[in-house]
Symmetry: C2
């Protein structure tokens, strides 16, 4: 017999950052959750008793905010974190990453790598991520076990890939993945992921676009990541990567353009006209020396922009708080203008902006009544977060993922006092450490 | 009655990064400490028993490395962390920082701010820092209480400053500070800090240089931080800031040139000839949009280069691990070359390079026998540090200050399992939080 106990979860005694369009900050915040959704997000009046709830969480003066949205990663690449750094892009890719992927990826290793990344993302405040990789069913199984929300896609390239040896079957395999996971579990949304305009043919891109339209899924693609890609596409197709994709009908409002570093004014105008979402992965783009995407320009043009970490083999972590910090600072020094990309704008990129970019803007990304209850609590009672003049400034410039105390996704408590409640990462840590010893002993550029 | 128990501290079961000139990495590392110094730094043979010690520390498979050296900060500015961000430099300085400093700095508040920063630095792996500020006696008292190593200097500017209302007495006050702290306590080395070539007259700079030479202290100065500074010095003195300082005899091997962003080829040649040390504060320089200092050029010219955080009002934290990460990545994307500033070079900047830049290279900065025992232990058993192919890569690209487990300074255990042993930061956190509420209610650009 279950008595009526009101809300599922009530959170109090913290500052609520809604990151809504008017960016409400509620100093004595009160958040009430039931049936996986936010029922009340408001300032608690003095002497107002706490509403009845099965579970009451005291934020102990910390910050209550939307869970972070990682708009681009390859979760299982945690297997290769730090395998090779500081190398020219093509050496890194061809001599290390592709070799290691070809040799070591299988459903078991991808599951372990993805689960490890889920642990890292959860413990650093990410509640939703957008992924594209191989053996994506194993990623989906890991995500399901972790309790995270994700858009997942089986990667499409026109050469033999791990798990898809015959490139002619790449789109069919992606379709199979969508059919498998569509509606299977509420937190996983299947999507499409074409690697890039230089690794997928026009035929492949058009076929994938048709599938995305027919199934109503997000179409992700790396675009204009390096100068050499732009030159290559210009030579092959006589125009820029963005214009080429526009010409063959790939770009629309359910497209996520990833990187978008080397784009010109007509490219951006086209992206704005087609209302594509954009994902920028600042730290990885810096580490690989790809370039700096024009985020302020994207925002001025009204594009939905999110940030991501990319795979952690090129980052080398999945901490979106550090990503916010670096993104804000990089654009200031690039323009020599300290007012560019202020803390509010950057916090929006990592939450509401990211949610909009990946097509989940109506469900997540801000703390507003009726949205899904995806939120995190930051412990600010620490030397490096003292004093606290402005919570937004702290979140962008001082907090790291290690300051996240609690994580709630879809109304379910997933991390409590920095402990994962959905799975124990120890087994995964042990498995990946063991696998890495084998990889290290057998992967070298001399192979 | 005390029996002979061998070493004071023995550390085992971790990978030792010596950061010596040949960068030895010892996989089954053993470090023995006595009388505040490193007595043995070696690989432990299989079945070799542990040497006798009063205190044995199990690094549990983590990384044992030199403590980090923060070559430039203003520790007490933690009082103003996040008070104002994303503003033009002159608005930030004149409307917020200078006003707040003028109103709220006193020996008590500076002591609290410095102690808060010591807590933050210790908990993020910094064992030595180089500071210049006002009421520096209060900073020295805080450092002494914390157990940190530091070079501290009373700031010199040619206008009325907190605690030094008559600028005519600025050098005399700095001399008094040196005399007060010279030899007083082993971990504090007094120094000189002239704010800049545009806020100090030629007479002041020369007088300070004489004092530094006579007392054998480090002469720190902000140089070539912004383009407007360079223009101003060129108008006033007909040459660049570096050449101006050279002309008036300020530059020598016991000079620390801070920032050095807008320097040209002759400036760098002069810096190399005079063998000055250089301190670059990447994150603060990005946030204030000052520019990017040519670190790779400095290294090619053989200069001793360290990194620093600057005051955390413009950073907004004191975490040198994040500073390493951002420094490495910024230079890659600036040059579009991912091989620039590799992880070893950047780790060296934060340890041995920094120690050399501030004149402590013979005592600290690497784990070598007879050097002072300043070291830290990193806990790598975490999702975001799994797997571990290369500890150097992890330290630069994946670790943050929150992964520091233990800190030893001068052979004394200061942080154990992330708890400070020398002081309880709770009182300071409470004091600073209370002070900040007063500052926030009374500081605004409208005042």
């Amino acid at each position: 017999m279950q008595k009526n106990t009101g809300y599922d979860i009530v959170i109090h005694n913290g500052t609520v950052l809604t990151v809504s369009a008017d960016f409400d900050v509620l100093n004595r915040g009160l958040v009430c959750i039931a049936d996986g959704r936010l029922k009340r997000v408001e300032e608690r009046a003095a002497h107002q008793p706490l509403p009845a709830a099965r579970h009451v969480i005291d934020a102990r003066g910390g910050i209550i905010m939307p869970g972070l949205v990682n708009t681009h990663t390859h979760a299982a690449m945690s297997l290769f974190r730090g395998l090779a750094d500081d190398l020219p892009l093509m050496t890194w890719l061809n001599e290390y990453v592709f070799k290691a992927e070809g040799r070591w990826l299988n459903p078991e290793s991808v599951h372990a790598g993805a689960l490890l990344s889920c642990a890292e993302m959860l413990l650093s405040g990410t509640t939703t991520f957008c992924d594209g990789y191989f053996f994506e069913d194993a990623v989906a199984a890991a995500v399901q076990a972790s309790g995270m929300r994700a858009i997942l896609a089986q990667g499409i390239v026109d050469f033999p890939a791990p798990g898809v040896h015959d490139p002619k079957k790449n789109v069919a395999e992606a379709v199979r993945f969508i059919e498998e996971w569509n509606g299977k579990t509420p937190l996983i949304t299947p999507g499409l992921f074409c690697h890039s305009p230089y690794t997928c043919s026009e035929e492949t891109l058009k076929a994938a676009r048709r599938v995305a339209d027919e199934t109503g899924t997000l179409f992700q693609i790396h675009v204009a990541e390096t100068q050499s890609e732009v030159r290559q596409i210009e030579q092959r197709h006589g125009t820029s990567p963005v214009q080429y994709l526009e010409r063959i009908g790939v770009l629309n409002a359910s497209t996520l353009v990833v990187h978008a570093i080397w784009v010109n004014e007509p490219d951006m105008a086209c992206m704005a006209r087609r209302r594509v979402g954009v994902s920028v992965t600042t730290e990885s783009e810096m580490k690989l020396a790809s370039g700096v995407a024009p985020i302020p320009e994207f925002l001025r043009k009204g594009l939905a922009v999110g940030i991501g970490t990319d795979g952690c083999a090129s980052n080398n972590n999945l901490d979106l708080f550090q990503e916010m910090d670096t993104t804000a600072k990089l654009h200031k020094v690039k323009t020599l203008d300290p007012t560019v990309l202020d803390a509010r704008q950057v916090l929006t990129l990592a939450t509401r902006g990211g949610a909009e970019a990946i097509g989940l803007g109506k469900q997540i990304g801000s703390l507003e009544v009726d949205k899904k209850a995806d939120l995190i609590i930051i412990d600010t009672h620490k030397p490096h977060l003292t004093p606290l003049y402005d919570p937004v400034s702290h979140l962008v410039y001082a907090v790291t993922g290690g300051d996240v105390r609690d994580v709630i996704i879809d109304g379910r408590l997933i991390v409590k006092d920095r402990a994962l409640l959905t799975f124990n990462p120890e087994t995964t840590i042990g498995y990946v450490a063991h696998l890495a010893r084998k990889i290290a002993s057998q992967t070298s550029p001399i192979d």
